[in-house]
Amino acid sequence: MAIGSRVVQWWTILRISLEERLVYRADFALGTLMRFMPIITQILLIRAVFESSGRERIAGFTNNDVVAYYLMVLISRAFSSMPTLASGIAMEIREGDVKRYLVQPVDMIGFLLLKRIAWKLIYYTVALGPFALVFYLCRGFFPGWPDAVTMTAYVTSLLLAFLIGFFLEALIGMIGFWFLEVSSLLFIYMLLNFILSGHMFPLDFLQQFPIVQTLFTSLPFQYLAYFPAAVFLGKISGPDLVYGLIIQASWAVAFFVACRLAYALGVRHYSGYGG
């Protein structure tokens, strides 16, 4: 297929996914806005932790640094989290809807990727206002804007976080070809993700436990939340930043390959359930 036709095809998938996402506008807007509610409680919790510890710094982080980190993690998660992706794929396999990708000249993974991009675009559009307001009100927690190089690295790391998140969750969904139900597996993944990605606390807090820190930073999870936030806040720079981006890109490629492989094997194993 010519490049021009392919672009038109991608645009059509993207456009229809956007339209579909906008059908239930009230539910979508409410769901998006409600995600901002925990921010206030989290900021108060961080302050309480610092006050009760009686320390000004924990692993080099001040109270303001931790709040800034927490807010940046929210942005990382807005890119890397993929609600309903894995469970949706498993459900399509279980109920037989996956057949449409097997009989039509369309690539399932590419189709779902475009659909997810559309969902994310809508989410960012709706969330932009509330995000801007929160960051404006919390501007005092930040040291200032990073330089152009850091900003470029940050945007790159966010896009890679999106790709890792997408291919990792799609891979979990593909397991449905063998086990049909992946909800428990997904629960374990989300639990691990919450702890290991740095969503709960900055991974620098583990400095006192070098073995645990090595374990955490050897896994791909940190690239879903911690790494982009740490890049923006200038915690990672110079050769470490380049090395980090290379490793992050390698994880994205590894999950892309694993996802494609799982799909190819899964389709061979598929029994065409669900009528």
């Binding site: 998938i13 339209e19 579909e20 059908v23 039509q104 000249p105 369309v106 389709v267 065409g272």
Partner: protein, 342 residues
């Protein structure tokens, strides 16, 4: 020219066996028993271009599994198949652009959007030229009389209307081969008739090769020149619809109307299907019909007599029932071919 060539095609599924009760569920956590189910047992078939072929068979006979293999949804366990020169389970895009699969119980439309959006997406997925797309969509929409519905969200359409939209979507790229899996299932008689009339008209004009599975004999009678009866994964009959009665209908239905009353000794010449006043309806062995007619007409005053073939459904049910079990059970048979524990 043969468009579909199937040789010794077989599909065996490995199916988990869950016994009843909580204790069995707990045991199942550690040790599971599976059995192998032969859904299709080495069928061979050739379909020529432009034929409309019905796949008849009871639930679990292997009809849908065969369609799934021919459309590349599942891989076969053994055997070969070629559709328009393509091996279906290689899933080449070139093949996918030349056939369509419509399943009565599944839809490929975007539920929350008008069908016209699904048509548009289909156009892009299949790379249909804009002018050809507009022409085909216009033709199909007109034939099915759904012009006022294509801008309405799919979720607000009736089952019959949704099936019409499905058919439009499936035919937009003008497939040469069409697999229809129970396209009229669950539809009311009006919608069934409308879909049937459309399919008949479309197939006649376009000379598309169609493989249809349906439990509705009216679909088959109206549409198909050739019938393949499949039961327990094997082909039991392949030929014309009328030929089934000749081959498998071992009896005829004979109705006598006597001038006075029905006579007991006549009733004893066959199986009584009904007896109302002077009218007696009997099922009689095909070979004995001539003799019985001669005797009765000679001995009694008969006002009217008719000899009919039994209803097609009845004959086909007999064909299904006569499917041999040799070689192990198929989908509809619960006995395991081979128990596998894991």
């Amino acid at each position: 020219m043969a468009v579909i060539k199937i040789q010794d095609l077989a599909k065996t599924y490995r199916v988990y066996q869950k016994r009843e009760g909580l204790a069995a569920s707990v045991r199942g956590l550690f040790r599971r028993q599976h059995r192998m189910v032969e859904a299709v047992r080495g069928i061979s078939l050739t379909v020529d271009e432009g034929q409309f072929v019905a796949f008849l068979g009871p639930n679990g006979a292997g009809k849908t599994t065969t369609l799934k293999m021919l459309s590349g949804v599942v891989n076969p366990t053994s055997g070969t198949a070629e559709v328009m020169g393509y091996v279906p389970w290689e899933r080449q895009h070139a093949y996918r652009r030349r056939f369509a699969l419509v399943m009565g119980q599944k839809n490929q439309l975007w539920w929350d959007l008008p069908a016209v959006e699904s048509f548009r997406l289909h156009q892009q997925i299949y790379g249909i030229e804009p002018t050809a797309f507009a022409r085909t969509q216009g033709e199909l929409v007109e034939l099915l009389d759904i012009g006022s519905l294509i801008h309405q969200p799919v979720r607000e359409l009736s089952l019959g209307e949704r099936m019409k939209m499905e058919l439009v979507t499936a035919l937009l790229h003008r497939p040469k081969v069409l697999f229809l899996d129970e396209p009229t299932i669950g539809l009311d008689v009006v919608a069934q008739h409308s879909i049937r009339a459309f399919l008949k008209d479309y197939q006649t004009k376009q000379r598309v090769t169609v493989l249809l599975t349906s439990h509705y004999m009216k679909d088959v009678l109206a549409l198909c020149e050739r019938v393949v009866v499949i039961a327990k994964g094997q082909i039991m009959y392949d030929g014309s619809l009328a030929g089934i009665t000749g081959k498998f209908g071992g009896h005829k239905i004979v109705t006598f109307k006597f001038s006075d009353k029905a006579h007991a000794d006549v009733a004893s010449r066959g199986e009584v299907l009904s007896c109302e006043g002077p009218r007696l309806r009997l099922r009689i062995d095909r070979a004995a019909v001539t003799g019985v007619l001669g005797d009765v007409l000679a001995a009694y005053d008969v006002e009217d007599v008719s000899v009919e073939d039994p209803p097609l459904e009845e004959v086909i049910a007999e064909v299904f029932a006569s499917a041999p079990n040799a070689g192990g059970p198929a989908e509809s048979d619960p006995a395991p071919v081979e128990a596998v524990e894991r």
